[in-house]
Subunit: 241 residues, 2 copies
DNA sequence: TTTCGGATATGAGTGACGCTCATGTTAACG
DNA sequence: CGTTAACATGAGCGTCACTCATATCCGAAA
C-alpha cells in the first residue's frame, strides 16, 4: 500500500535514479491526462516529457494501461492518507460530519491533484474498454478492489468513532455508498470545472440519507437544499423522532 | 429520438440497403463489445462481420467513437421505450414501485441486450478517455445529456402518477438518482455476471431512500435487508449499545 | 589497474490500428 | 446512348503501442 505501484510494475525500481524516473513518468502521465485524456495520451509523449527513453518506459510499465493503473494506485494511496488525516484532525459532532469531510477531501483532490479528475483510482482501467468476458474480467476486479478499499477504510473510520454498530450489511452499504458518491461527484465535475456545488451538496445528502438506514439515525437536517421551502410534515416514518 | 443515430452519423442512410447496413454494423458492434470490449474492438472487424467494406463504414460513422456513440443512442431509445411500456403496463401501489420496475428493466436489458452491459448509453464515449479540458469536454456533454434524458423521462412518469409534487430540486434529484443507480448497477454486474442480487436490492433501497426526501414519504419498509435486526430508535449519539 | 559478466539502458524497428482518397461502379435523366 | 453526379470500394498512409538486438554501465575477481 505504501508504494504506489502495487503489482503493476514490470520491474520494481531499486536504485534511486530508477525510482525518480518512475515517479517522473507518473507525474507526467497525470499532467498529460489532464491535457489530452486517456485515449490521446501516448506512451512516447509521457516518456519524452519525463526524459526517459521509450525502451526504459517499457522496462517498468507493462503497457499503457499499466501506467495509468499505477497512477490510479498512487492516487488511491494519497487519498486514503489524506482522508484519514482529515478525519483524525477534526472533531466531529456525529458520523455525518465524517461523510462530509471525506467528500470534501475528494472534491479538493479532484480540483488540485493533476490527473485525479480523469483517474480517481481505477475507472479508466475498467470502464473504458469495459469488457464483459471472463478473461478480460481480470481488469475489472482491480478497479472493484480500489473502491472496496476506500469503502472499507471509510467504514473503519466511522465505525471507530461510533463504537462499532453491529450490522451485517454495513460492509456492502459502504461499498454502495462509495460507488454512488463517486458517480455523482464525477457528474458534478462534468457539469462544472470546479465541481457543481449543488451536486456536491446532493452527493452528501445521498450518502447521509442512505447510510443513516444502517447507522443509528443522526439528527436529520431540515429539508433538501434547494427545495426545502416546504417540509414534508408527516416525515414521521423514517427519522428517529 | 426515433432514429438511433441522432447527429452522430456522417451521412444519413436514405435507401433501404444503407439503413440495413447501418443497423447491421451497430448489431455487430454490440456483439463485438461483449466479446472483446471497447479498446480491443476494431472498426475493420465490425465492418467485416457486417459484411460492409471499411470505406463504407466510414461513410456513415465519423470514427470508432461515433460508432459506439450511435449504439449508445440506440440503446437509450430502446430503454426509454421499454421503461415507459413497463411502467404503463403495471398497476403501482406508489411511486417506489415505479422505481423498482425501472431498475428491473435496466437489469433485464443488461442481461439480455448485446453490448448493453458495456455501453448503457454513453459512458464509454465520455469516461474512457475522460478528458478534463474544454475542447475535449464536448464529448462529455453528450453522455451527460443521455443520463439527463433518462432522469427527465423517469421524473415525468413518476410525477404523472403522483399528481405533480412541486419541488424545485426535483429535476436535479432525479439526475443524481439515475447517476448513482447506474453506478451501483454497474458494480452489481462487475461483481456477478447476472448482476449481484444483493447489490441490485441495495440500489433500489438507495434510490427510494434518497428520493423519498423529495417526494412525499411512502410507507417506509421495516429495516435494511440484511441488518434489520434492531431498528434504531432515537439514539442519535455514538453509543453502540 | 585491467578484465570480465551480468544487469541495465537504448531507440530503430515491427505489426496493427484508425482512417483517407483515388478509382471503380451504379443510376438517373436528356 | 452519353453525361454527370452520387455512391461504393479497398489499397495505402500516418501513427500508435510495444519489442529486441545492441550498447553501456558497474562491481568483483585477477
Amino acid at each position: 500500500m505504501t508504494n504506489a505501484a502495487g503489482g503493476t510494475l514490470r520491474r520494481r525500481p531499486s536504485q534511486r535514479r530508477s525510482l525518480e524516473r518512475v515517479e517522473r513518468m507518473l507525474d507526467e502521465c497525470a499532467l498529460l491526462l489532464d491535457e489530452v485524456g486517456y485515449e490521446q495520451l501516448t506512451t512516447k509523449e509521457v516518456a519524452r516529457r519525463a526524459e526517459v527513453p521509450i525502451g526504459t518506459f517499457y522496462q517498468f510499465f507493462p503497457d499503457k494501461q499499466g501506467l495509468v493503473r499505477a497512477l490510479a494506485l498512487r492516487n488511491l494511496d494519497a487519498f486514503l492518507d489524506r482522508m484519514a488525516a482529515r478525519v483524525a484532525g477534526a472533531d466531529l459532532r456525529d458520523w455525518t460530519d465524517a461523510v462530509d469531510l471525506v467528500i470534501d477531501e475528494f472534491v479538493e483532490m479532484k480540483r488540485t491533484m493533476p490527473g485525479f479528475g480523469v483517474v480517481d483510482f481505477g475507472e479508466i482501467l475498467t470502464t473504458p474498454g469495459g469488457p464483459a468476458l471472463p478473461e478480460s474480467r481480470r481488469m475489472l476486479d482491480h478497479a472493484l478492489d480500489n473502491n472496496v478499499i476506500v469503502a472499507d477504510r471509510l467504514r473503519s473510520l466511522i465505525v471507530e468513532l461510533l463504537g462499532a454498530p453491529r450490522n451485517e450489511g454495513l460492509g456492502r452499504a459502504f461499498i454502495v455508498a462509495v460507488e454512488a458518491a463517486d458517480a455523482v461527484l464525477k457528474l458534478a465535475f462534468r457539469a462544472h470545472p470546479e465541481g457543481d456545488p449543488d451536486l456536491i451538496a446532493e452527493c452528501k445528502r445521498l450518502v447521509r440519507r442512505y447510510l443513516s438506514e444502517y447507522i443509528s439515525e443522526p439528527p436529520v437536517e431540515p429539508g433538501p437544499g434547494t427545495p426545502g421551502e416546504r417540509e414534508p410534515a408527516g416525515d414521521a416514518g423514517t427519522d428517529g423522532d
